[in-house]
Amino acid sequence: MKRAQKQNKETGFTLIELMTSVSIFIVISGAIFGLLGTSQKLFRTESQLLSSFQEARLGMDQIVRDSNASGYPPVNHFSTLPALSSSYVISPVAWMPGYLTPASCTIGTAGGGTCTTPGDFDVIFEGDFNDGSGVEWIRYQLQGTTLYRGVALKSAVADPVATTNVAGVMLPYVTNVMNNTSSAQIAAIRASYPAMFPGGAAQPIFQFICDSGTSTVLCQNAVGSNSPSNVRDIEITLIVMSPQRDAQTNRLRLVELNGRGHRNNPNQ
């Protein structure tokens, strides 16, 4: 019995055993939690980057699709034009100033042309997008770092800018778009991404390519044909920044997406 009792008493852990195991446990769990914390942070920043990327990609897809489908029904579908211009498309890409009066503007870049829209950060597509509403104007405009999208029925008496400027038409579409950010921010971005913002200047979202004889050139280089009705393709560049910096390197996180919209419908 004595021996049995003695054995029973010895079944617990010694203090040393306990302390050793606890400290091993602490060290291991510390390492695990440390790793977990880092990966959680990484996961958070990466998923933010991914969701920015995803948002930009969906935005890009929609711009390309609106561009491809714009221009229906063209003027060539009418032997006698309807009384109201709201029933047909004058040009797949609408413009201002001079839309309502028969005058067209010229497309430039960085303020080089006479068009307000289409411009580097603003475009209005015109067409029946087959949603049952008839001919509409779809506008994309960058305000600050948010790209807005607005859809409005084409009006025969109001211009496309005024129509889409009505309160509640333009809605936020893609956020954290850095294409036209401050020069200080551009310099900071170029430190991490030297290939972005060539020349340190703002990066146009929309670049318009016009027909010129048998070839196509950027509209601002097309002499005499740099009007919105001659736009054939639209090069789209979206630079989107993740709201948070990289968890490990503390660098800015950006993605640049490139797309091209192609006008399928004739322009007049």
Binding site: R3, A4, Q7, N8, T11, F43, S47, L50, Q54, R57, L58, D61, R65, N68, A69, G71, Y72, P73, P74, V75, N76, H77, F78, S79, T80, L81, P82, A83, D128, F129, N130, N264, N265, P266, Q268
Partner: protein, 496 residues
């Protein structure tokens, strides 16, 4: 007894390991599942984006296959596979429907329209097409080679049919009525701008507009229907007279025959009919048109003086002989350079270019060098050299870059362009009762060394040896003779 306490302890601890194991497993599972859910959401978003882009591209690939295969110059031309699939006149009556079928892996050609029915047609025309009016053809995008089948773009079918106001839901003539039965034509001569027109009797400058609709469905169920409205684009040649001679000095010697006439009134003579086209007799042009690059009336006088039977030359209400030097030439017929470009363009779409050039010398082609042709199957022939016809009747567009001579019972229905070197001659020594219906144009664009001239050179026209029954202006044959260069896209839209 000694081992009892130990045995008890072992028993009481035996479930703990299991509990701990289950707990740890649950923990790991929760982490794993949450990670899977997060990445699963990402890949679903990326997948949606990818399939929306690929289904769009697959559908447009279908449209392009149809647009390409309607061209007779294409080796995959519809009518090369199924005779008469697209009527030779290039037009389809309203109600006639053509499908290109493109079954995917495990799908049968015959049941494709049952598996993927065309509900869009009934939406456009109010009812499904009559089965007797439907013809189908297999797509060429799926290729079998060495026992392996390679599938092309995943469109299911492409429909080709006549377009109407109703099918396009477009009031083309703004009369507040959507016409269901009258086909639409694309009139390149419409004023103020070329446009679709609603007409059962199209003018010569119009070609029928066709609707091409394609459906694409991906294995994941994404689907897209897109539609083109297209119209054939031709070189759009028109002529100011039945016989046009353009050059510095014109030598003219007319036919003595009593049955020979030159007539500028549209459709006179005995031309074979062109399906879907009726000549307009009110459209009357001079029998012979000449240019006067040297000023004065030298060429007109030379032609008039060379006509033995003036009363046989009529048209445009002019006193006989109907010869005019107040003509306006199509821009592509005006200068040696523009005519040379025209010949190059036509050569690209020619049924045949003959004879094969040998040593840089102009060869001479004869009847046997020409392809078979008929009123229902006109050809585009480019003779790079001289052409001697002997009792040959041709149909279509004939370009001769040398001299043209004919004898026997010869004639042509369509357009003849003789644009040669030095002094280009058109010589006839024919007999019989054949005639030339359409238009003839003769000019010199090169010198005898083959260099392009800066101005059109001299022209000789001599049919004093006999000219058959004559030359008759015919707008339908002029139109029919010109090959379709391409099908222009008049509009594009996404339907669903």
């Amino acid at each position: 007894m000694k081992s009892n306490p130990i045995g008890r302890r072992k028993e009481s601890e035996s479930g703990v390991a299991l509990l701990i194991a289950i707990f740890v497993l649950m923990l790991i599972s929760v982490v794993a599942i949450s990670l899977m859910v997060a990445s699963g959401g990402e890949s679903a978003l990326a997948g949606n984006y990818r399939s929306s882009a690929s289904v769009y591209l697959a559908a447009t690939a279908g449209l392009e296959e149809a647009r390409g295969r309607m061209l007779s110059g294409n080796s995959d031309y519809f009518n090369n596979t199924v005779a008469g699939f697209i009527p030779a006149s290039g037009s389809l009556p309203v109600g006639q429907v053509r499908y290109i079928l493109n079954p995917g892996p495990g799908e049968a050609l015959g049941s494709l329209l049952t598996t993927y029915p065309d509900t869009e047609y009934a939406t456009e025309f109010g009812a499904a097409p009559l089965s007797a009016a439907v013809q189908t053809i297999a797509s060429v995008s799926t290729v079998t080679s060495g026992g392996t089948t390679y599938y092309g773009p995943l469109f299911k079918w492409v429909r080709i049919n006549a377009a109407t106001e109703k099918s396009l839901k477009t009031d083309v003539n703004s009369d507040s009525i959507l016409d269901l039965v009258t086909p639409l034509y694309y009139d390149s001569g419409h004023v103020p701008k070329p446009s679709l027109v609603v007409t059962a009797t199209p003018p010569a400058s119009a070609n029928q507009a066709l609707e091409i609709t394609a459906l694409a469905i991906l294995p994941n169920g994404s689907q897209k229907t897109v539609q083109y409205v297209v119209a054939p684009l031709t070189i759009n040649l028109n002529f100011p007279s039945a016989l046009t001679l353009s050059g510095k000095n014109i030598a003219f010697s007319g036919a003595n025959s009593n049955v020979y006439y030159a007539d500028g009134t549209d459709g006179d003579g005995n031309p074979p009919a062109v399906p879907g086209c009726t000549p307009n007799p009110l459209n009357s042009l001079p029998a012979i048109g000449v240019t006067e690059p040297l000023g004065g009336t030298g060429n007109k006088d030379a032609v008039t003086a060379g006509i033995p039977r003036p009363d046989h030359y009529s048209g445009a209400g002019l006193p006989t002989p109907s010869v005019s030097d107040a003509i306006t030439l199509n821009s592509s017929l005006q200068t040696p350079a523009s005519l040379n470009t025209l010949v190059q363009t036509i050569s690209q779409y020619a049924t045949i270019i003959t004879p094969t050039p040998s040593g840089g010398l102009l060869g001479t082609a004869t009847d046997s060098d020409l392809p078979p042709m008929s009123a229902t199957n006109p050809a585009t022939v480019v003779v790079d050299g001289n052409l001697n016809l002997s009792s040959f009747v041709g149909y279509g567009l004939l370009v001769v870059t040398g001299n043209l001579a004919y004898d026997g019972n010869s004639g042509w229905k369509g357009v003849i362009l003789v644009v040669g070197d030095g002094t280009t001659t058109f010589t006839g020594a024919g007999g019989g009762n054949q005639e030339f219906d359409g238009a003839i144009f003769v000019a010199s664009i090169k010198d005898t060394s083959g260099n392009l001239l800066s101005q059109l050179g001299n022209v000789g026209f001599d049919i004093s040896g006999g000219g058959g029954n004559g030359v008759y202006y015919n707008s339908c044959w002029i139109k029919r003779a010109q090959p379709t260069l391409t099908y222009t896209v008049l509009s594009f839209r996404e339907l669903h």
